[in-house]
Symmetry: none
Subunit: 218 residues, 4 copies
DNA sequence: CATGAATGAGGTTTCATTCAT
DNA sequence: GATGAATGAAACCTCATTCAT
């Protein structure tokens, strides 16, 4: 009898279990190379069961992405709620968070990598991801830059129009890891720090002319 | 029957034609989604003919990559042969060349994008590409940085250990274009210029301490 | 649509059905010339179904071989369990059993023939077959010879070192049937009997010197 | 100019060169596994050239067989021309010749093995081979047996009706070598000698009843 | 005669998806 | 709800054969 109860409880958790399994397998092998059989096996169900909860492999992937990226979105929102202290510190925190997230959460990182690399096949997925994750992150980045300019810390620079390029180092890390894995290991944290170092020096105000430029970002 | 009359029309042209067709189809659909039939059709030959010249789909792709990336490699080699003038100018030229290449040659850009995005499935391809193209490019980038440091133009910075991150903006462009195509257009040239602007300011020597650091890059 | 109604009719039956079909088609056309389509058609399933149960054409063939040869192996094991009576009778029984098996079970015979004739392309199959079927059969043959020597019925002869040559007549039958089928029919049973007749006379002890030789088989 | 002469001479020898190459490749890989490309390469011509001289792969194989087996046929004919000495010696010579032929001429042996193993796909080849090679060989074997009986050396035995079974050891050698190659090496000469030993004892006359049987071979 | 580029039918294998139970 | 057997549409690749030159 106890078994039955457990089974029922498990049934209610099936979708979550499948999503969890999908997360792991997708992030390990990518979308195309992942077989539904693998996911089913890892979830302890059969292939058919997946179709009870998800319409197709693509829909399952989309749900996986959503499940995974929501927390990142939350973090981003929180980060910008109470801006305080030097802008460069916020910038650093932002990039290091993304970098650390990559190192610590290999599965989450895997999903992001799939979006970056296989996303072109799923415009819908990408666009949703943009709206919910990347967009806000870019907005946050833009806000940080503007915050720095406003408090007289950063010079006004054209890069403000391209906030995504402030995240280019993180994107590069994802790509590099995906391409070379252990074959050409990358010291992510130091690389990101080195990039931040350049950004910091590249944005800080040092001359009068920088100050003057402030009023007219290109 | 008329078709068959020209069967042997051009012997030396076939590989080039196939390569050309492959370039187009690959860069449009990516490696996995490309069917040899598509390439054959576009090249005006049959599937079997492809195997006369290329051992496998993967080899064909590799040849396509090589054909496409060789010129870039050549350019890189040339660029560094006679370093002269301000290092920042060389850096700008290097990045803008890569960016322009992307804009002008949408198919070549497609190939690079495939390497970045589908490369993880083909370690052999990626490694060959690294040795022949990316590696030298990174070396060139590192040399430019060192050249700038040597002539007292750049400060010694940790980024010298991660030359690939100087190309992060270009990589980001590739990824962005791949992901969003026309849906979220990117002003590539201005974005690259904005990044160069940050790099330039971020690397230039301004204080005595920068000068002192010069002798000890981390 | 009616067809589809029975889709899942027999789950445990499928492998057997496929194996049965494979047995028939393989033994008719040989390994190479057999198409999986043929087997699928005869089994009343689609090609894909075969791969639900068997990993590859080769594995399917191996399974077929095993299914077919296991009984022969069993017979051999049983035959030697309780040696009794004249050795020549055991030898006769052994060879006639193999011959009868060939005549009665044309499909099983076909499989053996494939091993003999196409086996060189599948060392793994052949070696497994050796270990499980041929090896034991040769051992049995060797044991019979030794049994005959021990009970003073057979002379010790060099052929004891080559037990497989005691089965040469059976092998020849397989080859002959495979080569000539009905075009040059062979009276298998009488041919085997004739061979046994030679073997019997060739092994029996008649002179004192044979007796003496007994202690030193070459 | 000299070149031209040579080339012309070579041209006249093309068919022979192709046959020679075919012999080598066929005997190495068997019929099915041999590609015309391989033969063409080894012969130093192109695939198309083969079709100038031979209508198809099958025809080429048939020609190869003919070229190879003719000498064996000649030997057999010679062997029986002047029967003299003990029949058992002739028998021994006959079998040892076949065995030695197998060991010495790996290519010829290869062809024979192909006939034995892949022949069932080419009834025409097999039948021609029977008429020209195997048939005469069997006739010779039968003649030897009869010669032995006639001179009071061999008993009249049923095996006379199945002369091919006197060659079973040789056939077995071919099959064994084909199946196991170096994995389970076979001491051919000693094995054949051991078989001859059994045959000799199995056929010789020792009792009065053997003598009586002489007049009525079954 | 000789070439060798081109063919194209045919093979095995994969896997997302369906559906009767 | 869950199953898992079955599907079938492709995909890549091979290679004997053809034919214009």
């Amino acid at each position: 009898m106890i078994e039955k109860v457990e089974r029922r409880r498990r049934k209610a958790e099936r979708p979550r279990e499948i999503l969890q399994a999908a997360l792991e397998v997708f992030s390990e092998h990518g979308f195309t190379a992942t077989r539904l059989d693998d996911i089913a096996n890892r979830a302890g169900v059969t292939k058919g069961t997946i179709y009870v909860y998800f319409e197709s492999k693509e829909e399952l992937f989309l749900a996986t992405v959503k499940e995974q990226t929501e927390p990142v979105f939350q973090h981003l929102a929180a980060l910008l709620e109470h801006p305080e202290g030097p802008a460069i510190e916020m910038l650093r925190r932002h990039l290091l968070f993304a970098a650390k997230h990559m190192i610590d959460d290999s599965r989450g990182c895997g999903i992001t990598r799939i979006i970056l690399t296989e996303g072109h096949r799923f415009p819908a997925v990408v666009d949703r991801w943009y709206v919910e994750v990347l967009g806000p992150a870019l907005k946050a980045m833009g806000d940080i830059l503007q915050y720095g300019v406003d408090r007289g810390e950063f010079r006004a620079a054209a890069i403000q129009n391209f906030p995504q390029f402030m995240m280019a180092p993180v994107v590069l890390c994802h790509i590099w890891q995906g391409l070379f894995e252990e074959r050409r290991p990358l010291d992510i944290m130091n690389a990101i720090e080195a990039s931040i170092d350049v950004f910091a020096k590249g944005l800080e105000i040092r001359t009068a002319s920088d100050q003057i430029d402030k009023s007219s970002p290109s």
